[in-house]
Assembly symmetry: D2
Homo-oligomer: 336 residues x 4
């Protein structure tokens, strides 16, 4: 961390600042110039509150040089984290496709889709029982009933199940869910992150719509610093000025997260693009860039049903996507 003092900073206050910094366990190297004084802070600055220092009258600016996250940091944990999810491994040398419908609608629906996606190569099943919807007038999910249907699909296929939690009060319902998903809108619901850190469940943490990669890693840090190291990071598109696609998938986030952190990284091309015909090319890109897995929405839209988002693939389209992904994988950044 580097602190730039103001020109003509009060010497007394500067001494107080230095004393306080030393009390935080930091070494200080002072560079005094004609126009400015720079304090170079050497040591563990991850727990120093940068805003507190910037607030001081004598300080012109503070720049962090080391990453502020620790448990999630590859510098302190060189090996890839591999998470065992009821026997399915994610991270390290594995690659997983997590597939299923956006919303759980009925037992028949989830079971039918689960069987199909398993047949075509998915290793985990996803489905939403609690749905975060922009409008209070839109379908909000089946809730506890939806969770029960997901358990039926799990029993039928043996696939571990991923589902999204929207509030801590729902936690007891997730007892048999294998992976708890934290959605983009809850990425900085810090109270929830801390509580999820006290469980031993794997957590699929989606990047917020306007979250930087550092903020995503800090949210992972919330979970990990509470004791739960089983975090899967998910790039699902960020919000930009471009309106053609629902969001903009930040493809480079994949190699960046893989280099900064040891945690598994998956991508969600369905939510990122919001348009079914764009899912496969975006999925191929994410696999090529080194993702550890993909989240793919699949529906079994019987003719005329008005039930799924425009980003969902039919089982047939999912089969084609999965085949294409498995073919490209050996040549991807991960396995090349």
């Amino acid at each position: 961390m580097v602190v730039l003092l103001k020109k003509n900073a009060d010497a007394n206050q500067a001494e107080k600042l230095k004393a306080w910094l030393k009390s935080q366990g930091l070494d200080i190297h002072v560079s005094e110039g004609k126009h400015q004084t720079i304090l170079g802070l050497v040591g563990d600055t991850s727990q120093v509150d940068i805003d507190l220092i910037r607030a001081l009258d004598i300080v012109e600016d503070v720049k962090r040089i080391q990453e502020p996250f620790k448990n999630a940091n590859r510098k302190f944990h060189a090996e890839d984290t591999v998470i065992d999810i009821s026997g399915v491994k994610i991270g390290g040398g594995s690659f997983n496709i997590i597939a299923g419908p956006c919303s759980v609608e009925s037992e028949e629906q989830v079971c039918a889709i689960a069987e199909k996606v398993k047949e075509y190569g998915a290793t985990m099943f996803r489905g939403g029982a609690f749905k975060p919807r922009t409008s209070p007038y839109s379908f909000q999910g089946l809730g506890a009933e939806g969770i029960r249907y997901l358990m039926k699909a799990k029993k039928l296929t043996g696939m571990p199940v991923v589902s999204e939690i929207m509030d801590l009060s729902q936690l007891p319902l997730f007892d048999e869910i294998d992976v708890i998903q934290v959605g983009a809108r809850n990425m900085q619901n810090f109270t929830m992150l801390k509580e999820l850190g006290k469980t031993r469940k794997p957590i699929l943490l989606k990047r917020g719509l306007s979250a930087t990669l550092e903020e995503l890693l800090m949210s992972a840090e919330y979970i990990m610093s509470s004791g739960n190291e089983k975090v899967i990071l998910c790039e699902r598109g960020i919000r930009t000025f471009e309106t053609y696609t629902r969001n903009t998938l930040d493809i480079t986030a994949i190699p960046v997260l893989k280099s900064l952190s040891h945690l598994p990284v998956v991508a969600d091309p369905s939510h990122a693009t919001g348009i079914a015909r764009l899912v496969r090319p975006t999925a191929l890109a994410a696999a090529a860039a080194g993702a550890d897995g993909l989240l793919i929405e699949v529906h079994n839209n019987p003719e005329g049903a008005l039930c799924d988002g425009p980003q969902s693939l039919t089982p047939g389209a999912f089969k084609q996507l999965a085949e294409s992904v498995f073919k490209i994988l050996p040549y991807s950044e991960k396995f090349r």
Copy 2:
């Protein structure tokens, strides 16, 4: 709402779609051209799920023309909503400055600041007992103890108190808090919004970092459709590519929200700018643009204390700001 059918759309499916739309209570006007067919839907489309329609094979695009919010919509409620907060009115012909420290630190601190800001013109007091912090290693607030200190300040000054809730489990602690603040990171915590809609507490709803104005109004709609009409909207800056300021205050959001909705609109120049010397000019701008009030952070930083954010004003600076704001108000968009 306007639905554009694909060229050569299957006639059978088009009929099914039309029948379904009619069953939703909508009138359909068909414009058939050589290259495309347009369905104009007339009626109450606020409860129609636009994504469901867009998902259909025969549909090329859907555009919403009416706003999807209803309770918050000025079209159906022409008069300004005025909320009575323990005797202090917000909205309509009033203007309020809500001031106080970012974080509650001690009884002495909150009481000292509360007395000062009241003296200088604030009508409500704010202070954070639960603090949403990017890093798990930063100070997370005093919690229940902080709420108690806020109650002391209320008792001392008579000012109603605004404080932020971070999770529903904290709701019982907010019993005596006059206004519950929903922070930017929780603006789409829909479960919480619905529950807050069941209380009768005024809710100060902050715009999310990447939330559109329509999404902010839809979140207000969540609260209102659960039965609580006492919502105060807050523009507090959005996230853009500009890094000089912490966020970018969207000044035009104020007249836009005032025209789309009847709810009171306040601005938070402290969080938006993140830099103390920019708070006053930005506050003057927000007042000039027609805001119903301001949220201003004030601290009483004893020399050398490392406790407040760089966006906080000293009581003296707050006095100057308040005086300037009260002078400009009669010439603002609201009172001109």
Copy 3:
């Protein structure tokens, strides 16, 4: 400037880097820690190419601490720059409204509008002869003929005239134009900036749609370092995810630019909002925040003519806006 060396950086290469930095006239202060080495560079770093250093194998990161602009920097020029435009002063203790139509359409149009806006308080006239349009099929402006009409309006009213240049080949036509406007899309047309720096014309430089404030000041620096110090900075809205308004006016840019630079700063609420009814509240906000002037679009749309953008005011609406602005000015950040 601060250079962070990689852990285990090659000592030989580090010495080469230090020697090169010294040859650039910089003093180097080395902070060696267990995990990293920081070089604090003290001196004039405005001409050091930060990317060149970041490219080196041994360098982990470089952070600039001083602003990279010099001629435009208030640190080296404490007094406000006041530009005399054919007798009209901008900057310092003055405030100017620059008004006129988006596009020049006819001699009658510009003359009629010019007389009206002068009567209502404008001190400069604006009109576009060359129009940057997203579509090649949209009206591209009257060109040389439009410039002639503007000169008629100048002769009639005595007001100095501002008009936009789109390419250097048009420069000879701007001989009698008082202020040359560089549009947002040309803010980083560096060849043009350099050539405009060789003229002695005042330049109205608009911020690019995605330009940071530092980049805007660097573009001013291009003009100034070529010898022309008469630069007026213009905040005209940036591109964000919000789609309700055409752009998002960055209101805080006004006090930021005023503090970083001595150049005059004006705001353009017409282009920023794109909606006529939002122009006045946004103009009041810009005046309140300390702007040195405003750019306002005014049209005299005879009934049924399809000729002006939705952001233009009628002369009557402009009169109301100007009156409101003049009333609020004494209480603004600039004059308080």
Copy 4:
């Protein structure tokens, strides 16, 4: 195009609008409802100025439904455009890597790099003689001398050469350059686009930092409507709030552009990421997503030279990248 009239719109004005729309060759279908009237416009709306209509008092909103570009539109030109560049084909069934240094520095440099990149699989050579730099104090390129060096490299290797033009005055110097590049900052330099449309040179058109895909296609339309159909589109990253990478490569832009347009689409992972170690994974992703080619920066940084940006690869790293790309290609969206 759909026009929504205001409630209680003046009937007289509405008739005038309809008459004007008909005079533009459009059919009008009127949907009258209790609350609103919708005009559905059927016909060629690409040349209708949407802002003119939106400006009218009686109009509440206008929504475009058809794309406003024509020459670039795949709907009117189903086959991929294949451009022959001095014998090298781009688009259709081909894939090209365009490699070379960011800036031309010397004859030795460009010739050495050109030979290497050709050996490793590049089919075109790139190098900047005119450099758009944010700071006037940074190296601005060798200009005409740089062009001469590029010609030497062309003669030596036989590879066609791509180089960036910054101003029309430089056009004569590009006589022997095979492809003229229009940089991101000039994407909406409409005067230049029109003039380049009068040449018969292939144009590599880079997406602007904050340009939507529609705007990129409209800029291609500028070139094409002036008579030059040889346009290559380039995704090079957009500006977002994320600061870890220089820009955010919009990977889905590749399949979107391929579906909307018949023009070749290439990606530039070097500029998008700004960090050498992220270039290969991002290049693999772009190839996987269906790009017709890549732009890759390569330098031959002799030890200690301070001459290239941090995004450049060494020839050795380029060799690895090219090998990886060629291996993944058969499984990409383009060739699968």
